[in-house]
């Protein structure tokens, strides 16, 4: 790697990859057996953003192939944590709804996770997360837009 603006960005993506790996392991250690962050994330999204969206909407939100979202939803559906209904606006499509079981699962997961998050927070240099979050959002948005072009 030359001494180039891209060099720093390359290193940053490197760190992002490792942090993703570590935080995912942390999360999944607290989830019930057989559940992964991908499952939790969908439920969390359905509550934060609202349900009734289509599977494709979700795939786009998480930037995963639609086949991956089909699979993730099928797992959640099998556990009755989401329900899929026909989309009255589009016969090809479906709508995704979170169930009470899904809400309960998400709430429990967050409760089980919180102590770890607090522990991490306590060990971080003060204000680190607040400090970098806006830049991380900006980075995500740039990548997101570049993807379309």
């Amino acid at each position: 790697m030359p001494d180039h603006p891209a060099e720093t960005l390359f290193r940053l993506f490197n760190e992002v990859g490792i942090i993703e790996q570590l935080s995912r392991a942390l999360f999944e250690a607290r989830l019930p057996d057989g559940f992964l962050v991908s499952h939790f994330s969908v439920l969390n999204h359905l509550i934060r953003i609202g349900d009734g969206r289509t599977p494709l909407d979700l795939a786009r939100a998480f930037q995963v192939p639609k086949t991956t979202m089909t699979h993730t939803l099928s797992v959640l559906e099998r556990h009755e944590m989401v329900a899929l209904t026909p989309n009255p606006k589009d016969g090809r499509s479906k709508r995704v709804w979170i169930t009470d079981a899904g809400r309960a699962f998400r709430a429990q997961a967050i409760a089980d996770l919180l102590p770890d998050l607090v522990r991490v927070s306590a060990r971080l240099p003060g204000g680190l997360a607040d400090r970098i979050l806006p830049d991380m959002v900006a980075l995500r948005e740039v990548l997101d837009k570049m993807r379309d072009t």
Copy 2:
């Protein structure tokens, strides 16, 4: 999620996950068919940190299970991009060496990747990567240490 220090951290991990997803897709679109970031990363590590390490060392460096590293190395070995030799210091272990083909692959991948990195850099708010990289390193180190305890 309550209004809590953990809330910001939670959001940060969320962004990290999405950025990881997007940057990986960007990378892999430039790699030859059948190669993933995991393969490139190992080769890159062998050059940056030096080869001759054991598979377990590599698994620790990337924070993946050792079975995952066994698999990744077997792919690279099949393509003759790394060579595994017995470890004279430990009969249970091996040492990992990068080959000329591995070096060439890595160099080509970086060359093919550079334009994308430059494009991203150009669209980012000035100095963003430089600004947050130290904090991201600190975050990674905290997670890394917490993992041991």
